[in-house]
Amino acid sequence: EPEVTQTPSHQVTQMGQEVILRCVPISNHLYFYWYRQILGQKVEFLVSFYNNEISEKSEIFDDQFSVERPDGSNFTLKIRSTKLEDSAMYFCASSIETANVLTFGAGSRLTVL
């Protein structure tokens, strides 16, 4: 069964450092998403991406965050200058069409010290 692959599975970084989380969505999917889950809390939408541009973003997704699809297969989330409160599990997801079933990756755990 096709999977969404995320790397790294866990990253520890110092506050103020830049972090890039990587995702390989399912190959025939057209919509890509990042979600965040702070430990013990609910999953929150960050951003959706379609046709090489952001289609929607939440208020969490401020200027410190950016997304990119650099080569037609990877989909990355960059946090420019990490804060302690960025510590969370970050989930990538993709779907073949909007409002359809999202397939989630296994998540990347980010710990900011």
Binding site: Y35, V43, V101, L102, F104, G107
Partner: protein, 115 residues
């Protein structure tokens, strides 16, 4: 703005019992999708079941079924013959069709199946 509420933070049942998880939501849309996702200790989000709002028939997937009450904006999940592997966090989620760019999740219910 759409909201999803799960009023049961934790539930615990014995193996083989039936358990029902509650979910209510708020929206002004008439057409939308509702989902239940399972998050086991591995923390991966796994789709359990999906319901389309324009379909009156309740969705079922093997031991999992929903009770969708559109007028009451209620979407509960019933797990029959519960198994140890059902132990997980369960999240109810909503997406509208018009915007359809994001899932809105509830707070989750931690379900423990005891042997």
């Amino acid at each position: 703005a759409q909201t999803v509420t799960q009023s049961q933070p934790e539930m615990s049942v014995q193996e083989a019992e039936t358990v029902t998880l509650s979910c209510t939501y708020d929206t002004s849309e008439s057409n939308y999708y509702l989902f239940w996702y399972k998050q086991p200790p591995s923390r991966q989000m796994i789709l359990v079941i999906r319901q389309e709002a324009y379909k009156q028939q309740n969705a079922t997937e093997n031991r999992f079924s929903v009770n969708f009450q559109k007028a009451a904006k209620s979407f509960s999940l019933k797990i029959s013959d519960s198994q140890l592997g059902d132990t997980a966090m369960y999240f109810c989620a909503f997406t509208d069709i018009q915007g359809a760019q994001k899932l809105v999740f509830g707070q989750g219910t931690r379900l423990t199946i005891n042997p």
